[in-house]
């Protein structure tokens, strides 16, 4: 009987010790797991901050140097000079920025995006780009025509007259207005193609729409605002972004890799 009592007592202590050790193990694992989660979170946040600050840096360079102004709303407007004379400055600054980020982190900005400086309106998938940035052609190419129409506003320092605006072909998708020196102006609405001449009949600009693709061409210096009017509501916020392969972040020490577009607006 005494032996059984002794064994029960030993068993009791044994169970108490096991419970104690079990708790110790649970606490220890909880410590470890909690600390790991915090470390993971901090690492992820570090990568996120670097990502966002790189994009912010790109936006600063774009705003200061590209010569393109974007206004975002239900209508998206891109304004720039054509031909855009900021191409070399933009390329140089982008290349410098890429070298700078590369020197400290494995963050790569695709400098070739300055070749056509394509800007995507998301989620509508409308591409605004240059045939060769710095050259004389702008194009707008929608995947589907999910907006009302194009409206192109041209400003020139030449004098316009009553025959300056020459529109042809009927299309409800394009309106063009032009303003010249000394308060002169003209416009052509619902046209398929449009030519702008000055008062000495020199061709200043050519605007055309074919297969829903808008082309604006001018070898003479003009200021052109391309309006993509009344975007359809797709239930998501509208963003203006670069190509999808613009930014590559490979922070291997954190196990973090990301390839993405850069949000411009």
């Amino acid at each position: 009987m005494a032996k059984i009592k002794g064994m029960l007592l030993t068993l009791g202590f044994f169970i108490a010790v096991i419970i104690f050790l079990g708790f110790a193990l649970i606490i220890s694992n909880s410590f470890k797991s909690s600390r790991e989660r915090v470390s993971d979170y901090i690492v992820f946040e570090k990568a996120r901050v670097l990502d966002e600050s790189t994009q912010e840096g790109f936006r600063n360079i774009f705003d200061k140097v590209s010569g393109i102004t974007i206004v975002k709303g239900s209508t998206i407007s891109f304004t720039e000079e054509l031909p855009n004379g900021n191409d070399i400055k933009f390329r140089n600054n982008l290349s410098r920025f890429n070298n700078f980020t590369n020197s400290s982190y494995n963050i790569n900005i695709n400098t070739s995006l300055s070749d056509d400086l394509a800007l995507w309106i998301r989620p509508h998938d409308i591409k605004y780009y240059h045939v060769d940035f710095g050259d004389d052609i702008i194009k707008v190419q929608p995947r589907t025509f999910n907006f009302n129409k194009y409206r192109v506003d041209i400003v020139t320092d030449k004098v316009l007259d009553g025959t300056s605006c020459s529109g042809g072909g009927g299309s409800s998708k394009l309106d063009v207005t032009a303003r010249g020196a000394s308060g002169t102006s003209c416009n052509s609405n619902t046209v398929q193609n449009f030519k702008l001449y000055d008062n000495t009949d020199v061709l200043l600009a050519y605007v055309n729409i074919g297969n829903d693709i808008l082309t604006i061409d001018s070898e003479t210096k003009i200021n052109v605002t391309t309006n993509i009017v009344s975007l359809n509501d797709l239930g998501k916020e509208v963003d203006i972004k670069t190509d999808d392969n613009a930014l590559t972040i490979n922070l291997s020490e954190y196990g973090f890799f990301k390839k993405s577009a850069i949000r411009v607006v």
Binding site: K5, L9, G12, A16, I19, F20, F23, I26, I27, S30, F31, S34, R35, R37, V38, Y41, I42, E45, K46, V49, L50, E52, S53, T54, E56, G57, F58, N60, I61, K64, V65, N93, R96, F97, F100, T101, S104, I107
Partner: protein
């Protein structure tokens, strides 16, 4: 003394007291384990939350300064003033702004801080910099 002796030498034996004592000790041990468990788990979480708070606070403050153009001057005193305007009084800070041709830093070294943040800064004059920073309770 006689009474105590009598008490410990009951005719039915001492097993009642031993088991009671055993049960009390067991309950006492379990309570200690439970209380210390909760205490330690909470303490650990507090420490982690503090780290996260410092880290997020640092990110927020230096992002606000960047977005508001307060880093554009690349001037130490101007940056310090801007930080001290928005940093809660019970926190201290350090920063190091490493630009292409200039380094601006606070009195205290960033490397001594427990949790460091860093971000890329492009100023209005297109100076390219890396901002390293740390925030901790005073």
């Amino acid at each position: 003394m006689e009474v105590v002796k009598l008490f410990w030498n009951l005719p039915c034996g001492n097993k009642g007291q031993v088991f009671s004592l055993d049960a009390v000790i067991a309950i006492f041990l379990v309570m200690i384990v439970l209380i210390s468990s909760f205490f330690m788990v909470n303490k650990e979480n507090e420490e982690n939350y503090e780290l996260l708070q410092q880290f997020n606070l640092g990110n927020d403050i230096f992002t606000v300064l960047d977005v508001n153009g307060k880093l554009n001057s690349l001037n130490r005193n101007s940056i310090k003033t801007s930080i001290e305007t928005i940093l809660p009084k019970n926190f201290d800070y350090s920063f190091r702004l490493e630009c292409e041709h200039k380094i601006v830093e606070s009195n205290r070294s960033v490397s001594s801080t427990l949790v460091k943040g860093e971000k890329i800064v492009v100023t209005n004059n297109l100076d390219l910099c890396i901002m390293r920073y740390g925030i901790w309770p005073k």
